[in-house]
């Protein structure tokens, strides 16, 4: 009897799962599961044994909602045939093929050429024609409309919110700085973490953002022979602090599963103190622009200065240039890079000649890279961005282990980490939410926008788009490289009040949710879908011929036939699948359906719906889908 009851419960579980047409994977119980196997019969059993994934439509959409910036229907269907692992292999094999900096420069050049055509006497060049930071957004959007390496763009967006730099800074109007930094993230997205932090550290955008550009060694010597007052200048501590707190190890020592280690009195153990910061700050001294003549040189900085790797200056020889007229014996030549040993994180970089000081930076990045916190730290952040705000400690442990060693002895292999995250049972398993009521994450506002753009298949004839995304940012307060601070648009440990707080869980993206942003989002949706104005076009030079094709609208006319009362459910199911991975529950679908069927509609003699009224019904439907809580939480 007991057995039968259990069996019934199990069956009941499958039935209820099934009624929502959701697949259960890898639970060791393969009873009652249907598998859409494609090419050969072995794939089905591989799926069930959790060795391979051939998803059903909802699982396919769900995977793509984690691995891309939002699926198209065609991609959902194609992934079903291809299977998840082959898709991943294909994605990892693609090189970054869209260079944002080149795109910005081409746009810039076309501005220059056009202006010269208009006014040949103007002598316009790249150097005297201003190009606004939104050129970066145009390039970014174009890339995402045409690039096939969807996974890379998803991961680089996550990286841009971890290794944060932002145009809310000294380079606010420089699209080259933004494009170059983002290209660097794209390049490193599937590379090694050690290379990534090297590239981040030596990127001028980061050096300006976290103020170690021209960072100077400790200087407590007399100001000059004639003025014996001692200088009191110390290295800037900004980058030393943030690279450890935000980019690598965090504030407290972690176990491999992401939980904080405790000392004997049960307290968390700080990873570093202010002395570590002071010492690491000495490491990041002596870096300046690639074209600088001396440490401290800020002359001739232009847009392109932000695209070239920093140069190291062991010595501050600035007076050779700033007091070139004086007797060289009176030049004050001091260390640019701090000499002496530097101890931090319980390790010491031994003293070496300042001329070799750049090796200090290499050693410091090695020390950071090899700190045991980096695995769990990066694992948790990437999981939070791609899958779920509150991963289990087992999930973090599994991913951190891959970070520590990708299986062939390499530490920091981000490709292996991303693959492991997306294939982890906790990411793939539909039923994780049954054990974890805080499963999933709130879709961040910018992702909702990209979901809509992709989900409705925005397109045009010639494949060129011009979307400056200025209004979008004003409304939803988010777009790439526009964070208000180095702490990103929201912080990974943010705890919203209410049930999540009571359960001791975090909800990072909730930091952006309030009564104002809630109405702003609805009104942004209104603009994009109800008013059918998803793209913001701007002229790039005066009197430019308006290229309407570059500002496409959503065309949903193919679905008009579904606007009929008796087919409206098909329409809603379709967009529930594409936008919400089929997660909008039946009650909510009826609420939306009831609104749509009460909107007036007329038909021609053949029973074809009137386009205008059909269009309105469908737009209202999409609008409401994207406000439903079961859309907004991606789980």
């Amino acid at each position: 009897m007991k057995t039968i009851i259990i069996f019934t419960l199990v069956l009941g579980c499958f039935q209820s799962t099934f009624s929502q047409n959701t697949q259960t994977f890898g639970k060791g119980n393969i009873k009652g599961v249907t598998v859409n196997a494609s090419s050969n019969a072995s794939k089905g059993i591989k799926t069930l044994m959790s060795t391979g994934y051939i998803p059903n439509p909802k699982a396919s959409s769900r995977f793509l909602s984690q691995a891309t910036l939002g699926p198209k229907l065609s991609e959902i269907l194609s992934l079903q045939n291809q299977g998840i692992e082959p898709w991943l292999d294909e994605q990892f094999a693609m090189n970054p093929n869209f260079n944002l900096q080149n795109y910005v420069q081409n746009m810039h050049q076309s501005m220059v050429d056009s202006l010269n055509l208009q006014n040949p006497a103007g002598n316009y060049t790249l150097n005297n024609v201003f190009i606004d930071d939104w050129a970066f957004d145009v390039a970014w959007f174009q890339a995402n409309m045409v690039s096939m390496d969807k996974l890379r763009w998803r991961v680089s967006l996550a990286l841009s919110e971890i290794f944060v730099t932002s145009r809310i800074s000294a380079f606010e109007n420089n699209p080259y700085a933004l494009a170059s930094y983002y290209d660097m993230l794209n390049k490193n997205a599937f590379g090694n973490y050690r290379s990534l932090i090297d590239s981040v550290t030596f990127h001028p955008a980061m050096a300006v953002y976290l103020t170690y550009m021209n960072n100077h060694a400790t200087d407590t010597l007399a100001i000059s022979a004639s003025n014996q007052t001692k200088k009191k200048v110390f290295p800037d501590e900004n980058y030393a602090r943030e690279i450890m707190q935000l980019f690598s190890i965090g504030l407290f020592e972690l176990n491999n599963n992401g939980t904080e280690k405790k000392d004997i009195s049960g307290k968390s153990i700080p990873t570093y103190d202010n002395d570590d910061i002071g010492n690491l700050a000495k490491v990041f001294t002596g870096l300046s622009w690639s074209h600088s003549r001396y440490l401290g040189d800020n002359s001739n900085v232009n847009d392109w200065s932000y695209t070239k790797r920093l140069k190291f200056f062991p010595v501050d020889s600035s007076e050779k240039y700033t007091r070139w007229w004086a007797n060289p014996n009176t030049w004050r030549i001091v260390n640019g890079h701090d000499p002496g040993p530097k101890t931090f994180l319980n390790q010491t970089i031994v003293a070496r000649p300042v001329a070799d000081g750049q090796l200090d930076i290499r050693d410091a990045l090695d020390i950071i890279f090899n700190h045991p916190n980096v695995g769990p730290f990066m694992a948790k952040r990437l999981i939070q961005h791609l899958v779920s705000s509150n991963p289990s400690s087992e999930f973090i442990d599994r991913i951190a282990t891959v970070f520590n060693d990708n299986g062939i002895g390499v530490r920091g292999d981000l490709k292996a980490v991303v693959r492991a995250i997306l294939l982890d049972p906790e990411a793939r398993d539909c039923c994780a939410e049954k054990e974890n009521t805080a499963y999933g994450h709130l879709r961040e506002p910018f992702l909702r926008y990209m979901n809509l753009i992709n989900g409705l298949g925005l397109t045009n004839q010639n494949g060129v788009y011009r979307n400056v995304m200025v209004d979008l940012y004003d409304r939803i307060e988010q777009k790439p490289l526009n964070s208000p601070s180095v702490f990103n648009f929201y912080q990974p440990g943010y705890v919203p009040g209410g049930p999540l707080q009571a359960a001791g869980k975090v909800g990072p993206e909730f930091q952006m949710l309030n009564s104002l942003s809630f109405s702003n989002y609805m009104n942004a949706l209104h603009k994009w879908i109800i008013s059918n104005d998803p793209i913001q076009y701007r002229s790039i030079f005066n009197n430019e011929f308006y290229k309407s094709d570059q500002e496409p609208k959503f065309d949903i006319s193919a679905d008009y036939i579904l606007a009929k009362d008796n087919r409206i459910k098909e329409f809603l199911d379709k967009y529930n699948l594409i936008l919400a991975q089929g997660r909008i529950k039946a009650e909510n679908m009826s609420i939306i359906q009831n609104v749509l069927v009460s909107m007036p509609i007329t038909f021609d003699v053949n029973g074809v719906p009137d386009p205008t009224s059909a269009d309105r019904r469908l737009r209202m439907g999409i609008f409401l889908i994207m406000i439903a809580p079961d859309y907004l939480i991606n789980k």
Partner: protein, 504 residues
Amino acid sequence: MNRRNFIKNVGCGAMGSTTLLSSLTSLGALNGLTNFNKNAPGEDYKAIVCILFSGGIDSFNMLMPTGTTVNGDNGFSEYLALRTDLAVAQTPSSFLALNNPQCSSFRGQNCAYSAFGVHPQMSGIRDLFNEGKLAFMANIGTLIEPILTPNEYENSLKKIPLGIYSHSDQIMQWQTSVPQSRDALGVGGRMADILNANNSNNGISMNISLAGKNVFQRGQSVSEYSISDNVDPNNVGLQSFPSWWGNQGLLQEMRTNAIDSLVGQTYSNLLQKTYSATAKESMASFEIIKEALKRVPTISTTFPNTSLAGDLAAITKVMSVRQQLGTKRQIFFVNYGGWDMHDGLLGGLNGKLPVVSQAMKAFYDSTVELGISENVTTFTISDFARTLTSNGNGSDHAWGGNNMIMGGAVNGGRIFGAYPKMILNSSNSRNISYRGNFIPTVSTDEMYAEIALWYGVSPSDLCYVLPNLRNFYSYAVNNYPIGFMNFNQSPISTTNHPLDCLNY
């Protein structure tokens, strides 16, 4: 009847007077009516306004010593020698002098100097100070318990706040005043938990934010309501359907009802629950605030065209309809960021401090215009102060710093706390680093306790609002935590609330 229907009904009933008021406004015939929004004699209204300077303001370049007497008050010379290329001026006469600031000692620490001035770009602040409407707090910061000597800090003989010098921790602790915890509620939120019952209409939170979600305003039962600085009834809630769609009214109602239903469903997933709770509250609030904002009078105080002034002007407008909102207690939160000046410090301060000074002055003036200057207390907070020494062109993260408290009920014209010595040798019992980082003398707890007592939190409820306060202060008649508030018009509340003391 659910809340929405209730509001709709009230809204209809109130329609007549709204229409009358708005047409009078547009005719400019408001002289008699503005008094309607002025403080009625005996009106029980109090608001506190928290201005966050996010990023960590270099507040030892906001309030500076000006003495140059060798072997006497030689504060300026010491300041100049310590701050070197970060000194705001080479002569003390460049600073705007504060009249007899009576800098006091605190908890055994003496104020190091007697003559002070403010940054040359802060004439509005200087005027408010000299008129007795603004006070400074010197060397205030996050503390769990008093730390009297560098030794107590260096050898961890006293509890040290988590993550000192870390932006994220310190900005949070200034808002929670619980530096031993990373998941405490905010001070403003806990005050609201205690005092929310005073408000007759709870449709709109008493905690209104111009800076979105924030820790300061988060309580157990109260969370913030966020508005934009564009305080306009047409700027609240959902946008209308395009006119060419026809049936706008019906569509809007259907849409509103559908959204209400979608967010009103029961969800088991905690993230969905959290999202729908915010959405539900927001939907319910839109109409209340829309109706109230239709009655904002013309305000003649001129606010500069800056983000901070815009936010403060928005607060003035919201306070002007406090009666329509049915609120006797309000807490506002504003953020004016960009202070993390590791670089370009002097130019940065020259750009931002005049914005602060002009905006705060205009805001004070607007409360005078509304007749509520004694009912509104404004204070500033920031992550931390910055290192006294230079990193070349800027300063780094430090700890204790200086802040401002403004309002008609403030014992202004004084510097409270104890301004520390601008010397880093062992004669300075506050300094703990070669960079010039000071242990705070005054705790955030003591500042908040003084404000809370003025605001109407009873002495016995203080332990809910400020869990660590007992380490610094216990209430006795006429013994106030610091002394910067004037309690003549605000007797200490004897109304206690059944909320247990909090422990972290």
